[in-house]
């Protein structure tokens, strides 16, 4: 199919491998098949999305489609930037707290045998965050502190640890007391690490947050958006995701959500 997009479609997943890479690969594959081109999928494991301070891969035409954390979309949609266009469809996970909406939660995770029972117990504790583009691990925690009239100085440490999974590894090793972790990453980690799943527990949740969006390079959105929406609407796409090891239920009938009040 002639799309004017060249022979290679470039996807970037800032959310893997905390969220399953297979999920993003299944989506990338479906979109590429719909357009009729090959694709690359690049993983950015060290940050949840582009920041205001780094190179804009969309503006430079390096990547066509991105899976990223909401703060990055908020930065990239600023009138001075506008290098991306929002895809009008977003994933819905089966966390019971989500209630079928395109939202997700942070779980405030500690070790099972720790003395911490509630957020206020974390005064002086060693708390970690994945990165400064993350809504669930960083901004939601800052907002939660701010609502209580506190700042990160409330904790004994507030350390950048690189990823949600990295935070979980440090917590289970006893090198970190707590972290706010994307609830879907936590569930994936528990599935992947059955021997350690019961070594952590959540003492509170923060959310709901607007779920991580799919964004398109603005300069190509006119040609990319229709096939992307068609691809995400195919039952075959959901079945493809299921073949990657993620169970798929019938398509959500949820409508537009504008709620986001962590």
């Amino acid at each position: 199919m002639a799309t004017g997009l060249g022979f290679l479609l470039s996807f970037t997943a800032w959310l893997a491998p905390g969220l399953p890479l297979a999920m993003f690969d299944a989506i990338a594959s479906a979109v590429s098949i719909e357009i009729g081109v090959d694709y690359t999928l690049t993983v950015e494991p060290k940050i949840s999305g582009p920041t205001q301070h780094v190179d804009d891969l969309f503006a430079r035409g390096v990547t066509d489609v991105g899976f990223l954390c909401p703060p990055s979309y908020v930065w990239l949609r600023q009138p001075s930037v506008t290098s991306v266009v929002l895809a009008p469809l977003a994933p819905v996970f089966d966390d019971i707290r989500d209630q079928g909406r395109p939202v997700y939660f942070s779980d405030l995770v500690v070790t099972t045998d720790s003395p911490y029972r509630r957020f206020t117990d974390l005064a002086g504790a060693r708390v970690g965050y994945n990165d400064r583009s993350s809504l669930s691990g960083y901004f939601s925690l800052l907002h939660h502190l701010d609502e209580k009239g506190l700042d990160p100085g409330f904790f004994g440490g507030f350390d950048h640890v690189g990823s949600h999974v990295g935070a979980l590894e440090l917590i289970t090793a006893g090198d970190l007391d707590a972290a706010a972790v994307d609830a879907n990453v936590l569930r994936t980690w528990r599935t992947d690490n059955p021997g350690r799943a019961d070594r952590v527990r959540s003492i509170a949740d923060i959310g709901p947050h607007p779920v991580q969006p799919i964004v398109l390079r603005a300069a190509a959105a006119g040609r990319l958006l229709p096939p992307l929406v068609r691809a995400l609407s195919h039952e075959a796409t959901l079945e493809s995701v299921a073949r990657c090891g993620i169970t798929v239920s019938p398509r959500s009938t949820t409508g537009t959500s504008t709620s986001s009040n962590p």
Binding site: D25, P71, I246
Partner: protein, 47 residues
């Protein structure tokens, strides 16, 4: 993890997190420890 498919969203979906963004700038007065980096890596290609 189960996955329910896709639901419609629009730009307003993200409006309520915009007020959180200044909290990140305020936090920059606190030191950053641990791992850092934004390097690209692990390119996967479909043959």
């Amino acid at each position: 993890m189960r996955y329910h498919g896709f639901a419609s969203i629009n730009d307003g979906h993200f409006d309520l997190i915009e007020p959180m963004m200044p909290l990140g700038r305020r936090d920059e007065r606190f030191p950053v420890y641990g791992l850092a980096g934004t390097g690209r890596s692990d390119r996967l290609s479909q043959d």
